[in-house]
Symmetry: C2
Subunit: 404 residues, 2 copies
């Protein structure tokens, strides 16, 4: 008789964004006149840049002609894209990452969720608190977290790294040594960044203790200040201890097109075993390559025209971030993030819980955000707003919040 | 200190098609004058149908305009596609599958590889022998197979279902009861099909024993004879015991576009727990939806014009299959498949092993096929050719083989 994977029973409730969706739907049905502004889920709103659309059309035409039709893509991605990534994202920044260390995929969420498969069940995982739910949930499903403790809101076998106002929402080194360390900077949900010096401490720690850092750099394109690393490979020795995830979703509006990549340096070994061939085997066995047309669209992002167009989009969103940050501060909120990241992190007023504030903001301002507690107990009494709305809706939302 | 997933060490050698690629590359380098014809890997060669190209262009244009831009797709797929699939592939065939039981994905390979995650590690897996390598390899990685036994070419804890000439390459019921049963019909690699009556026996067996059938129907569009089920849900009670995988790859040439879907009926429960919400949770946590433009391309496949165009492509490939089948028979080979499937399965001559025949065919006819033994020990002394070449290369390959 078949048996289910009982680890799934440990997952508390539904996925955060499903719960938000349900609450908003219910409110809308009860108040059909309310004009709801969504600054909750981190989805972009600007259309794909013209250069990207041109690349999609050209590639689609190729697929319609026998002489240029492409079937199965190479498992790890087309060379034209891997070479471009290695060159533009790494070598030009002084990181010695080569094309054959790049694994093209359909997005960083999948890669962040799947990467744990190449590690044993017995590894001890560390995550920031608050944190993007996929890191923890994918480890729960695999059986690496132990049970959920409803009193603390934490899984018993996970090491949580508190990210608080006191440490600028960047975690200090842990007391207990983790085997796998998930870090995401610029951070979702807090919008915090780590300086190169602080990230170097983590790299040194990982190399000293034989830990592996799983570094999610999905928001690197939003970094506006100097001294903030865009890649973990800007730190010395990172190629011996770190895997990096990148995404085209927020960089170039690919949330509905799906493209990302993972860097597994050839030097990176665990128990003397190189991780590169393991991830290649995983990729080759359970994945069949990103669509050719989407890889061509990804290549277009790196062209001169593409870069200029996506820089404009990012500037547009970052102006939203500035509007939200300043608007909230004017309204008396305590705010961080929004400078090197498209996320604004605010402290709920009057000691409200995150969900109480969510309900209040929805009912009184018809603005949807994301409760900080949905990212872990450390996010309680915080709230996330995103810069991905349109200018009009962002301005309107701020006006409503200031009028509360 | 981090630990690797040691189950990966049990995987023997490299992925089958990587080995073939390497051998062909080496031969080509040594014999640059040889005109090699590839009838090995099951990749299509016909360009995407015009109706599909039109849909891609229209959807790309939508993505370039603010008012029609689409960000994150619904996790489980757009309604327009799920409704169409439920209607055309199921309800019109008398199967009571509804749109919300369809999970759209980027291909059947991923789904077949990932589905095992929602089941416990302790489940006993049964596979046909020979078999598509992904079913076994994904279970090896998860730790469900025990060690590889080089003497038998089998994993110790897997139940192998022999598919031989005697049983028409369709497996009989096993002696030991499996928990999870992978079946693929029309079959890759043998091209065999199961009658509705025989598949009904398997469904009844699974329902009697609490087993789950994981049914890969990626090649159903190639069925040309009556009485052969296109879906396992044509069998009574299958919605209580079976998950079905479908692909657009071979149906409509989507190998480089990536689209498939999985059906998890809401009635299907294991240990009293419904599998539908588990797969939804897995999908929602580790996947982010198929690209909008590709889902629109998938929708186009079901239009009247799309259907007529892909029927022509399938007819083209099946004429190749007929040419290969008859050509091989004329040359004295013992052949099966190729009638309801794009695969032709032949017995190697003179007692040659599969790899010996591979080497000989490559060296003497410059034709690449797939060694049967690459699909499991039951495939030894067999060889697979595919109908996915062009007409010219297929005819040329047959002429060369007949002249050997």
């Amino acid at each position: 008789m078949a048996k289910v994977n009982r680890n799934y029973r440990k997952l508390p409730g539904s996925y955060l964004f499903s719960t938000i969706g349900k609450k908003v739907r219910e409110y809308s049905e009860a108040h059909p006149e309310a004009e709801i502004i969504r600054l909750g889920i981190g989805d972009v709103t600007q259309p794909l840049a013209p250069k990207i659309i041109t690349a999609l059309h050209a590639a689609a035409d190729e697929m319609g002609r026998a002489e240029s039709f492409r079937g199965y893509a190479p498992d790890l991605g087309y060379s034209f894209l891997r070479e471009t990534i290695a060159n533009k994202d790494y070598q030009e920044r002084g990181c010695s990452i080569s094309a054959d260390e790049i694994f093209v995929s359909d997005g960083a969420k999948c890669d962040c969720g799947n990467i744990q498969e190449i590690f044993g069940i017995e590894n001890k995982v560390a995550v920031c608190d608050p944190v993007y739910p996929v890191y923890v949930d994918s480890n729960v499903m695999a059986g690496r977290t132990g049970d959920y403790d409803p009193d603390t809101g934490r899984f018993r076998d996970v090491i949580y790294l508190p990210c608080t106002e006191d440490n600028g929402f960047t975690p200090g080194l842990p007391w207990e040594v983790p085997d796998l360390i998930y870090l995401c900077f610029p951070n979702n949900p807090t919008g915090a960044v780590m300086t190169r010096a602080k990230l170097q401490q983590w790299v040194d720690y990982a190399n000293d203790h034989g830990s592996v850092i799983l570094y999610d750099a999905a928001y690197e394109a939003y970094i506006s200040e100097e001294g903030i690393p865009h890649s973990i490979y800007e730190c010395e020795g990172a190629e011996n201890c770190a895997i990096e995830f990148r995404s085209f979703s927020k960089t170039a509006g690919f949330t509905g097109l799906r493209l990302g990549f993972t860097v597994v340096p050839k030097k990176l070994a665990v128990e003397g075993e190189a991780l590169h061939p393991m991830w290649a085997r995983r990729h080759g066995t359970k994945y069949n390559g990103a669509p050719y047309i989407v890889q061509r669209a990804g290549e277009a992002v790196y062209s001169e025209e593409g870069q200029s167009q996506i820089r404009q989009q990012i500037a547009y969103y970052m102006e939203n971030a500035r509007i939200i940050s300043e608007g909230l501060k004017k309204a008396g909120y305590q705010v961080s993030g929004g400078v090197n990241a498209p996320y604004i992190w605010l402290r709920t007023p009057d000691g409200l819980t995150s969900w109480e504030f969510f309900d209040q903001l929805l009912a009184r301002a018809h603005v949807v955000g994301t409760p900080g507690s949905g990212f872990g107990p450390g996010g309680e009494h915080y709230f996330r707003l995103t810069a991905f709305g349109t200018r009009e809706s962002t301005l309107e939302a701020m006006e409503r919040i200031q009028n509360l």
